[in-house]
């Protein structure tokens, strides 16, 4: 059996590798293989996989990439993920990527899709829109047709038809992957000292670059290894991190929160791994099933409209209760419109329910963690000293 440290070392190597060597090797292993990149926050990876292609999560350049060219494309008041993503492309780190999907998350990522079209005309580029109307006959019909158009576009990339059976098979594989992701999250929430958050984070990041089948196996290995490992329980409080669904925090930030006395028992990093909360049905129309799951079984986040005002923030509140969290840390990237505009409403909901919360901002290359450690540490102390629990 692999040890935790062996598994996490592998994940760390994948995280550090900004040339995406594993994905390149996957592509080179067989003639005609294709890779389709996607940005946060959600794309139906099942369709890419069904075409025999590798879905590759592009989450910016992180803390170690020096952005030289990318800054020339963006004003100072725009977040860092698009500039480091442009940097990755200009420096040819993405030159093996055959298609790029830009999900509906904000105006910056939306406009990046157009920039990609202008800068890399040889790449298949699609702005992937999703409905903000959640009625089956309205948003559902629209979304199903969008999925059909995506299927057609992806067929152009992989050079063959993507059949309904292909999609069903891939859906089953992703269902299993989502079940394992949920298992890892539940395992951490039940015994956070056994699954430190930086490990869970790296494990999920591995899912951005590995074939889904390998990622599922890796999570199974991790669960077995973490369960077997004897780790001391600390006197930490239990918190949820909210607002980090697009530009990712530096790994040191994740570690710092925990070092400051907070166990992270849930988060919204890489939501694509658990956007759909239930298994997608495998019988019947596979496109219709993906559409229906999106409408009725998807996670709540800032990039989705909440039709019922009284339920705004309810998903977060429910997660606090489900994970027995004692507080929420709003950690959003600077200049992140969805997270920062959503935050006051979520804070409102938490305050109404006496859930302690704090806020700070970061950039993917933030280097100075001391202020964050102090803020999180004070927050943890205040929960332990003064909370009702």
């Amino acid at each position: 059996m692999k040890t935790v440290s062996e598994i996490i070392d592998t994940c760390q190597d994948l995280y550090d590798d900004l040339s995406f060597t594993v994905a390149r090797r996957w592509k080179e292993a067989e003639e005609g293989r294709k890779v389709v990149g996607y940005m946060p926050v959600y794309v139906p990876r099942e369709l890419i996989h069904a075409g025999g292609m590798l879905p590759l999560g592009i989450l910016g350049g992180g803390e170690s990439l020096e952005v030289i060219h990318g800054d020339a494309y963006y004003q100072s008041y725009i977040c860092r993920i698009p500039r480091s993503t442009i940097e990755l492309a200009i420096t040819k780190r993405l030159d093996f990527v055959d298609g790029m999907l830009f999900p509906s998350i904000c105006d910056v990522i939306r406009n990046l899709s157009g920039m990609w079209k202008l800068m890399f005309p040889e790449v298949y580029v699609r702005y992937f829109d999703v409905p903000q109307n959640f009625k089956d006959g309205v948003g559902g019909n629209y979304y199903a047709q969008e999925l059909e158009e995506l299927r057609e576009g992806l067929e152009g990339v992989c050079g063959r038809k993507i059949t309904d059976d292909d999609i069903r098979r891939s859906t089953a594989i992703y269902n299993e992957n989502r079940r394992l992701v949920e298992e890892v999250y539940s395992f951490r929430a039940a015994a956070p000292w056994k699954a430190p958050s930086f490990e869970v984070y790296l494990l999920m990041r591995a899912g951005m670059v590995l074939p889904v089948e390998e990622h599922t196996q890796l999570m199974q290995d991790y669960l077995a290894a973490a369960e077997a490992e004897d780790r001391p329980m600390r006197d930490n409080c239990r918190i949820i991190v909210q607002g980090s669904f697009c530009e990712q925090p530096p790994l040191n930030l994740v570690k710092s929160i925990e070092m400051a006395g907070c166990y992270i028992v849930d988060d919204d990093y890489m939501l694509v791994t658990r956007w759909l909360m239930e298994d997608v049905p495998l019988d019947g129309d596979p496109i219709g099933n993906l559409a229906s799951s999106f409408l009725h079984q998807s996670i709540e986040t800032a990039c989705k409209y909440e039709p019922d005002g009284s339920r705004k923030g309810q998903f977060l509140l429910d997660t606090v209760r489900k994970r027995a969290a004692e507080g929420v840390i709003f950690a959003a990237p600077s200049f992140c419109d969805p997270a920062l505009l959503d935050r006051p409403m979520l804070v409102h909901k938490l305050n109404d329910n006496n859930i302690p919360n704090i806020s700070f901002k970061y950039a993917e290359n933030s280097g100075q963690m001391q202020p964050i450690r102090e803020q999180a540490g004070t927050f943890a102390d205040s929960i332990k000293l003064w909370s009702d629990a």
């Binding site: 008041y77 920039m115 969008e146 800032a302 039709p307 705004k312 992140c336 419109d337 505009l341 006051p344």
Partner: protein, 436 residues
């Protein structure tokens, strides 16, 4: 010695007085609903459904316009800081914060009376993600009825039938029933057709006005003057007789200016010699609007075309008109075609065409901190336009209604350098556009 400089008298033409009266009347109606019993719908400028709203005899309130009014009256700065004190991030859109800050101060309209709480929030989510969050924030404050129209983004530069059908279905199943419920008025499609017919008539004259800038000298400034010209058609008056009358009046004034060989009207009267013809991308700054404009007309720079005047509807580039024969589909096409709902390649194509059609000397971007919908990607757009046209481009930065982000000396220096650059290019005979 008297060192005071007399403020020049602002020249008002008949069309300006007409628009002023229209706006004042609308604000009076909005602030008189307790007495009149009129219902109020709050909605946004891009993708607004004014013709439809009018079918239900309800009043139309536009939060962006209120923010602009407060910006031009130098009141928005305090409102923004108030919203920031309430926990709204310094990083996000200042229209949103000015609106929320205004609410906390009693939502006072430009006529000094309090604005009513809307009876319905109608979000038409077109071309700007922030609208969706703004709308949720307003709902959080007001707790009133809401309905939403999601307009898909034209990511591939085309409005597909799927997109159009989606918008039309939402109109039928969500928006119209919500308006019926709020107003108690049954929807009458023939009434909508009439409103659309009136819109198309006004739109014809608007396009004529915008295209008059092809003349040399241009009789209009299509950015600083343009924001007034689009006022009625972008706001509460599209589809009304008032709008038709306004554009007829404006057109006749401009015809006279062309006949007289005059340039644009500025706040200080007729502009002097036209030296530079520019295409401008991005919204203006509202808190120092007149100072900003002055930096142009003092140098003889006239804006012959602008993208901001297309944010509430594009009528010139591909000839769209509201169509009474296809009323709901036409509203969908209108929403889908608003400027910031078009992808970047299409925006670049539009600007390139404007540069050519309007014989522009240069391209200027006023990049707005608050508005990622416009701003993200503008530096690439600038390079594309320079490459394609061979004309010099420049970039200044400001904000919509946050006075902290308007730095007059920096902007003036950049503009002066830019005008010198245009002169140098002219002397050098200009540079050739990139080969196709």
């Amino acid at each position: 010695m008297n060192t005071q400089t007399a403020t020049p008298e602002i020249i008002k033409e008949a069309s300006m007085l007409k628009q002023k009266e229209m706006i004042a009347t609308n604000y009076d109606k909005l602030t008189n609903t307790q007495e009149s019993g009129d219902k109020v719908v709050s909605t946004y400028v891009p993708g607004n459904l004014n013709e439809l709203i009018q079918c239900f005899d309800v009043l139309n309130n536009l939060p962006e316009i209120n923010a602009i009014q407060n910006g031009m009256r130098k009141k928005s700065g305090g409102m923004i800081m108030e919203a920031e004190k309430m926990g709204h991030s310094e990083d996000v859109c200042t229209y949103v914060k000015a609106d929320i800050g205004n609410m906390s101060k009693g939502s006072i309209a430009p006529n000094g009376k309090p604005m009513p709480i809307p009876d319905l929030l109608l979000l038409s989510y077109t071309g700007c993600f922030t609208f969706m969050k703004w709308f949720e924030l307003l709902r959080d404050q007001y707790g009133c009825d809401t309905t939403m129209l999601h307009v898909p983004y034209k990511g591939d530069g085309v409005a597909t039938s799927n997109m159009r059908d989606y918008v039309v279905k939402q109109l039928k199943e969500d928006v119209i029933p919500a308006l019926e419920k709020t107003s108690g008025v049954k929807f009458d499609i023939d009434r909508l057709r009439e409103n659309l017919r009136r819109s198309a008539k006004a739109e014809d004259d608007l396009v004529w006005v915008l295209e008059s800038a092809k003349n040399t000298p241009s009789p209009i400034d299509a950015y600083f003057g343009g924001v007034f010209y689009i006022g009625p058609i972008f706001t509460a008056f599209r589809g009304s007789d008032d709008a038709i009358e306004y554009y007829k009046l404006l057109r006749s004034e401009i015809e006279e200016r062309i006949a007289a060989g005059k340039g644009p009207v500025t706040p200080e009267g007729d502009m002097g010699e036209e030296k530079y013809r520019l295409v401008v991308e991005g919204p203006p700054n509202w808190t120092s609007f007149r100072d900003f404009w002055k930096m142009f007309y003092e140098e003889g720079a006239v804006v012959v075309s602008s993208t901001y005047t297309k944010v509430g509807g594009v009528y010139d580039y591909d000839g769209f008109r509201h169509d009474p024969d296809n009323p709901l589909e036409s509203l969908a096409d209108y929403c889908l075609g608003c400027y910031t709902n078009r992808n970047l390649p299409e925006r670049v194509d539009m600007i390139e065409k404007y540069m050519d059609d309007y014989s522009a000397d240069g391209f200027l971007i006023n990049s707005i901190k608050s508005c990622n919908s416009f701003s993200a990607g503008q530096l690439l757009m600038m390079r594309e336009i320079e490459n394609r046209t061979g004309k010099p481009a420049a970039f200044v930065e400001s904000d919509l209604v946050d006075p902290r982000y308007f730095s007059p000396s920096n902007i003036k220096n950049r503009l002066e350098s830019y005008f010198q650059m245009i002169d140098q290019k002219r002397r050098a005979g200009g540079s050739a556009p990139r080969a196709a």
